[in-house]
Amino acid sequence: MATLELGIGDEVAVSPGMRPRRLGALFWMAVGWMIFVFAAAAFAGLLPLPSPTDMDMLGRRAPISVLHWLGTDNLGRDELARLIYGARISLTVGLCAPVIGLTIGGALGILAGYCRGRFETWVVGSMDVLLAFPPLILALAVTAYLGQSLLNLTCILGVLGIPAFMRVARASTLTLARREFVIAAQALGATHARILLRELLPNVFLPLFAFFLLGVAVTIVVEGALSFLGLGVPPPISSWGSMIGEGRESLEIAPSLAFLPAVAMFLTVLSFNLVGDTLRALTDPRQGAL
């Protein structure tokens, strides 16, 4: 038996780390689209684009031409420029808001799952209150009192995401905190901070990160919905949601005005979900364990 064990050990030692796995064309297409959108949004200022806010009342709803690659909108603004500058807003909100949820919700969840007791009751209770509060009313109230701005929009969506992240973090912490490796760490004299940061956080981070990518996708859609309702970023700044909203007015004459931002949003959200799923499956070292 000893020799057999050594035999297995040597085999493992030959190929340390993960076995390379085919990621598939779909994954690379999703990554390609994400890189394309990110690059376009980041370098929008450097691209030879017409201004997204310059109106041309004589060239409203112009068809595709050399001057306007994707035509112009209801007010004669370049559609491609508006799409790219809109990507800036959608991606900023889509990434920043879940980060707020991830940090605050994740921290509260891990602490609640580890400390239990009165702190947990308090956290879960306040999250239930936040969940029960109608999100649209909150968004309306905040924008009405503090005004429409990118920062306010991000904060609203971020705060609304906290309960979900808290629940994911708390649920995984609850199961992990009972495991023997946490007791073993305590038996080795680890402090509470050490157990939280080194033992629990790396374990909780994987499900949280998978949820984060889902959160990005959802937030982009929700930002679109809020902008569509006129609660998003104030005009003339464009975002995909507000572009769909504006395109609605001329749906019969120029359907592409609503259709193009919708396609951009669809492809981006789909890419985030695809990449998130694949990365989670790849980086989870627990697969095959237990």
């Binding site: 064990e5 297995i8 495991r179 490796f181 760490a185 038996a187 004299g189 070292p285 095959g288």
Partner: protein, 331 residues
Amino acid sequence: MTTSALLCAEGVAVDLATPRGNLRAVDHVDLKIDAGRTLGIVGESGCGKTMLSRAILQLLPRKAKLSGHILFDGQDLASLDPKRLRKLRGRSLAVVFQDPMTSLNPVLTIGTQLIETLQEHLELNGAAAKRRSVELLAAVGIPAPEQRLTQYPHQLSGGMRQRVAIAVALSCEPKLLIADEPTTALDVTIQAQILDLLAREQRRRHMAMILITHDLGVVAGRADEVAVMYAGRIVERAPTPALFKKMRMPYTEALLAALPKIDTAPHTPLPAISGRPPDPTRPLQGCSFSPRCRYAADRCHREKPLLTDAESPDHQYACFYPIEITAGVGA
């Protein structure tokens, strides 16, 4: 009791509040272990072995209530402030758990787990800690230790993982190692290897060890002294040779009889102990083993026998009608 012992537990009791009432998991246990010695604690599942080890480590569940004194190196662990207790754990007190599948962090590499423990306690720099980790892994019999450092626990077999867990426990040269059923989750052939490894490292480091198991066969050749636990109490305690030569407590005898032996004929029924341990939330008036004891008499159901050293100061047992001395009288 003398205070020269490394670990000296007096009147340790652990109470757990359960929905069905108070559960006394450990009931007035006295223990003593000297440096470099091995104490085997034997008993069936649920008799309080693990709770006793958790009590020594001060790692009881939050709802548990501990009473009694646990003196380690002259310090009472129960009243030690958290900071000094943390220093003591790992440095002087270490533990190896039953299941190597869950006692290592699944998302950290073996190297990270070992090196961080070393850096934390011995204040080594990164390179020195890494060197020492490789030495430790080699000492516990892991081939290609340098490559192991970059691997995750799930890439190792159960026996390998238990070796890593032992390496982590030994990393800071503890004075007392508590091995809580270290071989129960392992293959029988690996069991002997792990036990030999523990015995070898113990001799080399001159550390004391508490070996907790439900298998009398495990402690037979490896413990200096054996304490048999039943329903939260120690019912017999003796140096290992004395215990196996003339056991006094019927429970010890029943435990030994329930071990399969290599020389019995095939298809011989195993004399299992009938019945189950008593419900710890409803303590019995008499001896807790009396409902299952073949020698039980009236007195056993009425009174609780105390742990006494009737014959020799080394051999203690809690029984009114010990085997051999009064054989046949209680039956």
